[in-house]
């Protein structure tokens, strides 16, 4: 029973602007892999390509879910979600005029997620007690940190095997970033997820990552085989610490 993700030679862009240049990466079963890079280097575009939101111009994306390999090319986002791959999008994208509970239940729309709805809801409320307290409140009226928790919980309600997380720390106070990253680890461990997380906040990302890639101007410039590798890499020092 393996859940993994493989990207090979992926190119993509918007019109004449090429954003991704021959990206190749692998996320193996049960790993947490982080995609590091500052703003505008193509992290979000890569996430969108994997989810079928942005069409690639070249390359191949495939995912293995429960031991079955699927080619993701030409599939619509909703079909990719249906395979068991979920994205926690940048900027949260909640349904602001629906309640917390309605947001969560929408997460469980797909058929196989409905079967697990009671268990997943209980797990979400256990992991994020604040969501249980506010289940009847409109999602748009919550604070940024609470909204980020709801976004994570909602993605979990889709009962994914592979979870993509795009910039979970954006717009959050430092203390909430730490909390969010801890929660991602909790979810991953509780659910045995395979995780690919794009993040700018290097120090927080490597706390939970097994390995990582550094993306600069749409190319993978460095591949760190372990947390230590990433922490000691010169390129990362240059990008993140101004050394």
């Amino acid at each position: 029973m393996g859940n993994s993700l493989r990207v090979e030679g992926l190119c993509a862009g918007y019109g004449a602007v090429q954003v991704l240049d021959r990206i190749s990466l692998v996320v193996k079963d049960g790993e947490t892999v982080t995609l590091l890079g500052t703003n505008g280097n193509g992290k979000s575009t890569l996430m969108k390509c994997i989810m079928g939101i942005v069409p690639p111009s070249a390359g191949r994306i495939s995912a293995t879910v429960d031991g079955v390999e699927h080619d993701l090319a030409g599939r619509a986002p909703e079909q990719i979600v249906d395979l068991g791959i979920a994205l926690v999008p940048e900027g949260r994208r909640l349904f602001p005029r629906l309640t917390v509970e309605e947001n969560l239940l929408l997460g469980a729309y797909r058929r196989s997620a409905r079967a697990a709805i009671a268990r997943n809801l209980e797990f979400c409320f256990e992991t994020f007690p604040v969501l249980a307290e506010r289940r009847r409140q409109l999602a748009g009226s919550m604070s940024g940190g609470e909204q980020q928790m709801l976004t994570l919980a909602r993605a979990l309600m889709t009962a994914p095997k592979i979870l993509l997380i795009d910039e979970p720390s954006v717009g959050l106070a430092p203390i909430l970033v730490i909390h969010t990253i801890d929660k991602i680890r909790e979810l991953k461990e509780g659910y045995g997820l395979t995780v690919l997380m794009a993040e700018q906040n290097f120090n927080q990302a490597i706390r939970i990552a097994d390995r990582g890639y550094v993306i600069v101007h749409g190319r993978i410039e460095y591949e760190g085989a372990s947390r230590e590798d990433l922490a000691n890499n010169e390129l990362i020092h240059k990008l993140y610490m101004g050394l």
């Binding site: 986002p77 979600v81 729309y109 889709t158």
Partner: protein, 291 residues
């Protein structure tokens, strides 16, 4: 002017009954305009179409118009699906829904109206029902069955729609579709399919409301236009995207019209209705129950 209790009570009852009918006419707009962002100004045309179908079957076979409308509602549902597909492919997908989409529905409104004129002429048509002339009396208060029967069926339909939208997975997707389509796709939902089926539901309610209309009053093809303002007013007054708000808005408008007709004369009724709408927009733009 002295106001007798009986007159007051009758005005209230008539207003509520009328409001129930307005709710049936507006619930579809509350879905298409309020939830899907589809400005279907042709909605009243489908109400009139529903009236004429109820009329033909009633005229030929003597079946009850409301029963007929419920039986043929799947056809209206199909019609709604086809119409939304055309609208989606020609306008929405290209991002041209605002002005051209409006023109499209305006065209549908006129085509339907002209087609009905060509087939049936411009005469007023009515139906015969067993309860049409029956009035149930409780003391000094009248319950004309011509209004009460549509009221009861309407309440069932509107509450049914409300339960469907709030208690089912599909219904929640309808409530979410105008808020963020990409987020919905990330939940594994196809937003175009959701809009297609929800729009179809809105047209199905128009067909049933059409039968109510012809039970309540005689119908000719052009009167649909008179209801455009009314259904949008009810929807905005109640609050966009809220079926219960639409129901409340319909009652408010029904009561307002009933009171003005009773105490000041029927010609003032539209002025009061739209005065209420303007006041709502000025003081509570999100409507009575809008979220």
């Amino acid at each position: 002017m002295e106001i007798s209790t009986a007159l007051l009570l009758n005005a209230i009852i008539a207003g509520l009954l009328l409001g129930g009918f307005y709710a049936a006419m507006s619930v579809g707009i509350s879905i298409s305009f309020g939830m899907l962002d589809v400005v279907n100004i042709a909605h009243p045309a489908f109400i009139i179409l529903g009236s004429y179908i109820a009329y033909i079957v009633n005229d030929r076979f003597g079946f009850d118009p409301i029963v007929v409308s419920v039986v043929v509602s799947p056809l209206f549902f199909l019609l709604g699906m086809v119409l939304y597909r055309i609208y989606y492919v020609c306008f929405e997908r290209r991002g041209q829904e605002s002005l051209r989409g409006l023109a499209f529905f305006f065209g549908i409104l006129f085509i339907t109206e002209v087609a009905l004129v060509l087939i049936f002429g411009v005469d007023y048509r009515m139906v015969s029902t067993r309860y049409g002339d029956v009035t149930w009396r409780a003391g000094a208060v009248d319950f004309p069955m011509r209004l009460a029967v549509p009221f009861l069926v309407s309440m069932t339909m509107v509450i049914g729609v409300q339960v469907f939208l709030t208690r089912t997975f599909f219904g929640r997707a309808v409530l979410a579709v105008a808020q963020d389509q990409l987020a919905l796709r990330l939940m594994g939902v196809d937003p175009v399919r959701v809009k297609e089926l929800a729009f179809a539901l809105s047209i199905a309610t128009a067909g049933v409301a059409g039968a109510f209309l012809i039970v309540i009053q005689p119908v000719q093809p052009a009167i649909g236009r008179e209801f455009i303002g009314l259904v949008f007013a009810v929807c905005v007054l109640g609050g966009m995207g809220s079926i219960l708000g639409t129901l409340l808005g319909a009652f408010v408008l029904g009561l307002a019209e009933s009171f003005t007709s009773t105490f000041f004369g029927p010609s003032w009724a539209p002025a009061v209705s739209f005065g209420l709408l303007l006041a709502t927009l000025a003081f509570r733009p999100s409507g009575l129950l809008g979220r």
